[in-house]
């Protein structure tokens, strides 16, 4: 490190401000002993800092008031009912309802929107049923079907109406 005037000046100021490490301060002191040309600068710097400290020290003395803002230990709080979340939920529900009222009519088909509520006929294919054969769901198929063999041929079942009990007659 080259000890030019600028470097010595920086070191002197740092030393006067108390920011020079002890080993560097010792090296600087040794250097100043061998360099009398810098001793006047060192003395002026120390004198300046002494005067500056004295000038800035003439401030009003401060008496410390008690600290008022110490933290208070927090106790566990049991949540019973919180109004804010309930209100938030109510607002969301109301917003959904209003959105439904506004958007819903826009999604209905134009004919429904005009009040046309007549039933629309549904066309189906015609069934081909011959007149000789009774249909699968025909009542005559039930009435005139032969009695199952479990009942034997000694009885005859006559079922005149689905809402009445069938008549069981001996076979003629």
């Amino acid at each position: 490190m080259i000890m030019d005037a600028e470097t010595v000046d920086r070191l002197l100021i740092d030393r006067a401000l108390g920011e020079l490490p002890p080993d560097t301060a010792a090296l600087l002191a040794a250097f100043l002993e061998k360099s009398p040309e810098y001793q006047e600068l060192a003395a002026d710097t120390e004198l300046t800092m002494h005067a500056a400290r004295a000038a800035l020290a003439s401030s009003p003395s401060a008496e410390l008031p008690p600290l008022k803002c110490l933290p208070v230990p927090q106790q566990p709080v049991r949540k019973v009912f919180e109004l804010r979340p309930a209100l938030n939920a109510a607002w969301k529900l109301a917003a959904c309802f209003l959105a439904g009222c506004v958007i819903g009519p826009l999604l209905v088909s134009p004919s429904r929107r005009a009040g046309d509520s007549r039933p629309v006929p549904i066309q189906t294919a015609a069934a081909s049923i011959s007149s000789e054969e009774p249909g699968f769901w025909s009542a005559s198929l039930v009435h005139h079907s032969p009695v199952p063999s479990r009942m034997g041929a000694s009885r005859q079942l006559i079922w005149q109406s689905p809402v009445q009990k069938p008549l069981i007659l001996p076979a003629s």
């Binding site: 002026d44 004198l47 300046t48 500056a52 000038a55 800035l56 003439s58 008031p65 933290p71």
Partner: protein, 172 residues
């Protein structure tokens, strides 16, 4: 158990905070009193400083220097108070209205020289000589690099030394 642990943490925080208040409080209060001549406002700002620090205790305790962190908050509160017109004195003009009659002519001269410094150099000088903050702490307070702190201090000390050495007639 968690609640008990949290309570113990807060108790530890309270003890640490009280210790920090005892250590840094006088310097902080002196700093605030220098910025605002109103001692009641300075005490209020001191309480606000600690209240603000307590609102983010993790930042306070994780800071490299809690003292510098507090000075940073105090400085911001001073600026806010000045902007909102709570202070009758300007932060810039505190030294210009410094005590006029000092027994030592060197200190008088130094008052004038300090008042003539630009605000950034003067602020750094005050933080070093009055609040006794290190270069690193000043850098943290002002949120500037340490090298900038060093260069501003060197600039200030050179100016003061020049004033002192070029006015020998004032010192007689």
């Amino acid at each position: 158990m968690e609640t008990l642990g949290a309570t113990n943490d807060i108790g530890d925080d309270s003890q640490r905070l009280e210790q920090l208040y005892r250590e840094a409080g006088p310097n902080l209060l002196a700093y605030l009193q220098r910025q605002h001549r109103d001692s009641h406002l300075a005490e209020d700002l001191l309480q606000e400083t600690f209240a603000a620090a307590l609102s983010r205790p993790d930042r306070l305790w994780s800071a490299a220097s809690p003292r510098a962190y507090l000075f940073g908050i105090a400085r911001n509160l001073c600026v806010d108070a000045y902007r909102h017109g709570q202070s009758s004195d300007s932060m810039q003009n505190t030294l210009e209205s410094a005590p006029a009659a000092a027994p030592d002519p060197r200190i008088d001269l130094m008052h004038e020289a300090i008042a003539k410094l630009n605000s950034s150099s003067r602020e750094v000088l005050e933080l070093r000589l009055q609040s006794e903050l290190s270069y690193e702490e000043i850098a943290a307070v002002l949120q500037i690099p340490v090298g900038t702190v060093r260069s501003r201090l060197h600039h200030a000390v050179k100016n003061l030394r020049q004033t002192l050495t070029r006015n020998p007639e004032r010192l007689e």
